[in-house]
Amino acid sequence: MYYKLIKNDFQKSKAVTLTTVFFVAAAAMLVSLAMILVINLTGSIDSLMAKAKTPHFMQMHTGELDLERLDAFAGGNEQIEEFQVLEFLNLEGSQIILAGSSLAASLQDNGISRQSEKFDYLLDLDDKIITAVDGELYVPISYMRDGSAQVGDRAQIGGKDFTVAGFLRDSQMNSTLSSSKRFLVSENDFEDLRALGSIEYLIEFRLYDLSALGAFESAYNAAGLESNGPTITYPLFRMINSISDGMMIAVILLVSILVVLIAFVCIRFTLLAKIEDDYREIGVMKAIGLRLADIKKIYLAKYAAIALIGAVIGYAFSFPFKDLLLVNIRLYMGESDSAALAPLFGALGVVIVVLAIIIYVNGVLKRFRTISAAEAIRFGMAQEKSITSKRMLLSENRLFNPNIFLGIKDVFARKSLYATMLVVVVLSAFIMIVPQNLYNTISSKNFITYMGIGRCDLRIDIQQTDNIAGKTAEVAKAIEKDGDIARYALLTTKTYVVLMKDGSTERLKIEIGDHSQFPLEYTEGRAPVAEDEVALSAINARELNKATGDTLTLLVKDKEKTFTLSGIYSDVTNGGKTAKAAFADDTAETMWSIINLDLVDNSMVASKAQVYQDSFGFAKVSAIDEYVLQTFGSTISSVKMAAYASAAIALFICALVTLLFMKMLVAKDRYSIAVMKAFGYTIQDIRIQFASRSVLVLLVGTVIGTALANTLGQTLAGQGIAYLGASAFSFTINPVLSYLLSPLLVLSFVMIATVAGTAGLGKIKISENIKE
């Protein structure tokens, strides 16, 4: 019997049923996709990091290495399972030539290494540990992705010939967000090339128990061991590996939550309209003694059928999309061990969606209880409460055209009805504006200041070489004489010992110089200006447990000196652990220096970068835009894609729901429409009334949606950005796009949908709708 009832009902309301099925399918597809991607991503990362045996703790170091002391430390620490020191030979990009073109333009720190013996293996695309023979070169996978090299290509490193034998997955440095890239060569080739570049040591540990990592880190620091370079730990490796695809999944999840919400709104609306239509029948069923549960079952059966059909379609569609979105994950991270489980989890997600719908429908059907059999049979419709407003009187309206007035009045008189459409508009505006603002923000020139990088035209890095201080001075001298340079700031990073209150010590890398020239975005406080001020990165401030205004004791020139914390900033460079100060100190050894500079004419950026690169081969000169593009480029372009896709989705949803809503409103208001017509209102008049309703709802919805996007949306996006390392965050808004173009687009879609949705007005006959 249910089957027959459901079938009849479907045939009577095809458009509405199809739309609901569509939304359920979309929701099911997105939820399933998100689940499948999450399982694959985490599984792939886990299996890659397990197969490669990624180090739990790694200290990069340039300069002298005291292997005996390290051995002694490793031998004396019970937490250490394995310990090794790898050599990474840093090369100039120009020394690496793949298929005829050099990597000179690459901002990555490219270098070669040998396969390690104990752990931190470099794997091939089948996740096997690579053994390179002489003359073979294995290339990081990102160069396959961008088409720089193919298997079998000729390659040259420092003039020595190689053949590209394959590509490698590097569990540490796969991501473009990680600044170094390891090429793999044989033992002999490595020794031959050793003189070409500078050696950087990777001091790596694996622990028995990863949870002891914090304690181990302190022990390592306390022992005063090699630390001239960034420290990276297992969780950070994991995070770097998951960021790009994680962002994509987060966007899909966000959109799927919104689509589920819209599916709910749709169901609620169609269900209430249906109940209203069937009001008399429900009353009769009640009157002849059918139990409430029996009546509910009929409706529940219909929506369960819709949910199931939608779910099956959505789940099926998630498979082709899945393969598309998994390409990247598979390429970089390899197949996940739990890949077979993923569809199961996808199905689980879909089942949850279906259950949620059924529970929701059941909740909406509670209103059956309030239907009085007598009232239903006598009036055939719910007796709406007296809803005329005392203030909005047609007879006193002098402001608006009467049609616009009647439209507006109707919205205020039936707020709960229009709330449905309002919710959709709010959500649509939200989905439209948040990714757009996010894209605008991360593609804006100032975004890097959230990342610990000052906004400048050019940046010159001098590191991994000897006599850094001398070479820096040499560059600075040239800049001083260069009339094309508007201003510059020289920042030198040195290591200092922090004396903690409990008597222990920590090491802190402090960047010294004038921080007012190319300022960062400070989460709290400001840049250090006075001699006794210091600023900490967010991670350091947390680890040292300091807030702005607190004091910090450092050993400077072998003397204890107290500093005041002037501010805290977010940073993603150097593992996020940095500090800044303005005092002068020429005694401590310089670890690296950076010169930020602005040109008088910034069209000269590229040529100037070339000039400095040519004259100072030891330095790495990069145009900041190029630097940002190479570091965040892929993230920016995926957010851009997401922004466009969300805008399209939002417009589509908005138009579809408006269309549906208007169609239903026309059906619901047949009687009022007939009365209006009987008393001389034209179809055009009534259409204007309907359009006024949509426009009012739209305006209110857009305002609320925009406000929400800029508050809640900003917080949400901030969480995502925090994941990238920046903590303080506010949207950079393009007002024309956000406040003018987007609402106008929504407005035109809603208007078109309103006109289409009210096309049925002409068919409403007075004689059929005013019953006598």
Binding site: S395, N401, P402, K677, A678, G762, I766
Partner: protein
Amino acid sequence: MKKILIAENIIKSFGVGSEKRNVLDGVSVEVNEGEFVAVMGPSGSGKTTLIFALSGMDNIDSGRVIVDNQDISTLSEKEMADLRRIKMGFVFQQPTMLKNLNILDNIVLPSMRDIRKKGSEISANAKTLMGKVGIAELEKRDIAQVSGGQLQRAGICRALINSPKIVFGDEPTGSLNSKTSQEIMEIFSELNREGITIMFVTHDATVAAQTERILFMIDGKIVSEVQLPKFNGSELEDRIEKVRGEMRKVGI
């Protein structure tokens, strides 16, 4: 005497194929300016359909309807709406009020469409009409807060708000008790005496007896009519008897 309404041989059918049936089967009727006409007939005789066709609320299959010298079948939807709003009034059996407007707003609704008119004048006019039909104190009330008779009076005010040439009614007293019904008829008679043309459907001989011409319909045709002098409040019993006699004669 000027003819305000002329209908010539109007045919309207419902249903399709073998089910097709002429509800109006070649009806012709003329109404003079200032006349008070009632249409009577059994259920399904087509009297309501006739009123809807004459007032342009329903399309006809063939024939002509001319209201105040305008052939309504040639009018566009917009022109028809204008005609209905400006030259016609309509009183339904049920009050047919918009729920979210109060009494006064429902009354001024047809008038507000015309922006040329001043809002204050319209309201004043509505209040005068309300005073005339005895509901002056109800202007701020919601439609759910007043009785059926009061709503019907409001409906009459709405029909009159644009000073129409002719007022149509479809059983305007049909859902009222006899006392209220009589009060409404007194209002109609008064309006007619003031010169407004009125034509309505009724099944109540007492109501019909207070008009001056009664048309009898059976199976989509006007089969006979009774002419009476204008009602001045006297000899109601005789008039009723005349109507009843004709009803018996045509078999209603």
